[in-house]
Symmetry: C2
Subunit: 346 residues, 2 copies
Amino acid sequence: MKNPTIRDIAKRMNLSVPTVSKALNGSGNLSQETRARVHATAEEIGYVPNFMAAQIRRSQSRMVGIVVSDLSQPFFSHVLQACEAELGKAGYQTLLFNSFENPEKEMNAVKQLVSLNAAGCIMDLSQNSKDSIPFLRKHRMPFVLFGRRFSEVEDYYVVPDNRAVGYDATRHLLECLPERPVLCVNGPNGISPTTERYEGYVRAMREARREVDQRFVFHNCFGMDDGYNAGLMAAERVPAPFSVFCSTDRIAAGFLRALYERNLRVPDDAAIVGVDDIAEARFMIPALSTVALPKKQMAEESACMLMELVNGKQIDNPRIQLPGKLIIRESSSFPGSISVMREHEK
Amino acid sequence: MKNPTIRDIAKRMNLSVPTVSKALNGSGNLSQETRARVHATAEEIGYVPNFMAAQIRRSQSRMVGIVVSDLSQPFFSHVLQACEAELGKAGYQTLLFNSFENPEKEMNAVKQLVSLNAAGCIMDLSQNSKDSIPFLRKHRMPFVLFGRRFSEVEDYYVVPDNRAVGYDATRHLLECLPERPVLCVNGPNGISPTTERYEGYVRAMREARREVDQRFVFHNCFGMDDGYNAGLMAAERVPAPFSVFCSTDRIAAGFLRALYERNLRVPDDAAIVGVDDIAEARFMIPALSTVALPKKQMAEESACMLMELVNGKQIDNPRIQLPGKLIIRESSSFPGSISVMREHEK
DNA sequence: CTGAAAGCGCTTACAG
DNA sequence: CTGAAAGCGCTTACAG
């Protein structure tokens, strides 16, 4: 008992296969009546079209791949969700691949996508995945880089303006609490967000005529654990009060926890700002100041850009950088302070 | 310029198409030499097999769908990640669908899966999606229910033992702090985890000869916001000290925040336990006690079960219930208390 | 307005 | 050991 095909419908109605196909697709010239009758019997026998067959015949597919480094990071799960919704509207099905920052897995994903004749893909690549991009180019599969970019790859990408992100956060700390040193807890090495947020931090420091003391900078932190460890070290080595710019909210969450364990009060002993505005940020204790990333817009822009590439349209802006937005909460402000407008007062 | 096909290889080598196909697939009888030569030229011209074509010819597909209610919930993104890894090992590609608890979207996803001739699917269905399951049955598509179950659907499912989850958490609170009332902040209505965790709560209360006071029970809470609101109400209506069983860690995170704003100390004024053990739990302030769900195991079991169904194997255990594990942290224990072993002391 | 023919890229019996 | 033929389910010119 296989699923019914258009052939079954044709037989049943004494029509030809092409006629049924046209009726179902609304193409060609058919009498209203035939069309209606075909739809009726299709419904009746529970016909479901076979996408694969249609796609193979048309030599094009309505699938796009999304290759993500780590889906368990809230940033990516949000983005994936928005991408899926956006691409779904355009009639495309989303294929998910987790690369775990592993170039081999990436290459594997990309190969599968070519194998499946996918229309295109959206990826956040790990820095050392040299092979994937040439491969995609060779097979003429359109792709959009997401969240990270590479010096060698000019087009196409959608990223936050990470330099501004680092700059805004740091400058806020410098202005708000000018007497304090500002530490930096940086993200994983070798990806553009880390580098660029750090550049923003450095620029803000320079502009304020502060020296960037490498003892105050923690590099290569991946998540809450590393943030926590950085916090323990900071509590030990840096005399309070100080301020901290954390490259992600999760790093900040770990850092916050370490300060709590060391009996340092936030923001009294240490002010802190993260990046992303994860859902948890405003519920943290104290509520975390952060630079919100336009996740949804990023997802929409990249989905949209990919669709344009797939349809061979001209891309007006092949390199999209979207601004973040500083949100000041308890972790970097004092109730009475004037220079600072707290979130709920806006 | 299209991608090369086996026909291109055949022409180039003066072989027939079937021969090339057999060489590439390692099937049939071929001389070692031909086989090797075919592989060589395939490599040379950058041949990538067309999965779709192969699948359509074989009338079977190597894709499975995962239909998830809300990917932005950490529980699901973790699980999806593990499922994808597990199914990938078996050579299956994962198709992602977000249903947002919307029965129409679910039905849509399921239709697409049938359209794509998917081998099967794993789903967490919303309670009122009456149509999806009969549809899947009609089209003989194997499916595994994940995380939630339904009275009408006997097989196949993989869920946590949610009654035990609610029971263990509540009993821990009752034993640890017997003098306090125990509140319950329950999850969304109409899904089995909510109902069952509540049943566990009730049973623990009854066993301890406590009455279940409906003024102490908050229903239909979805996430941090609802948890927060429940916390505000509790702080107002219930005299401290009290204990709280929250149906999820995210609800607990919101609740915790509300207590903080109302100057109630945890666990001194309010002890609290959540469910899931999200990554953030042990970094919360105070660190959140919780019943950890075996996410990875659940993902593996459901992927494995689906693969067996797809391959027509006998399923030895069609209804898998996996135990959670109580993890006691700061939010429900006191440094000096004897009845309680804190996590880092194990 | 309807249908006979060819083909998308591949695989699977079946002959030789 | 190799190849000619048929077919998976569908669509797309092209005839009538």
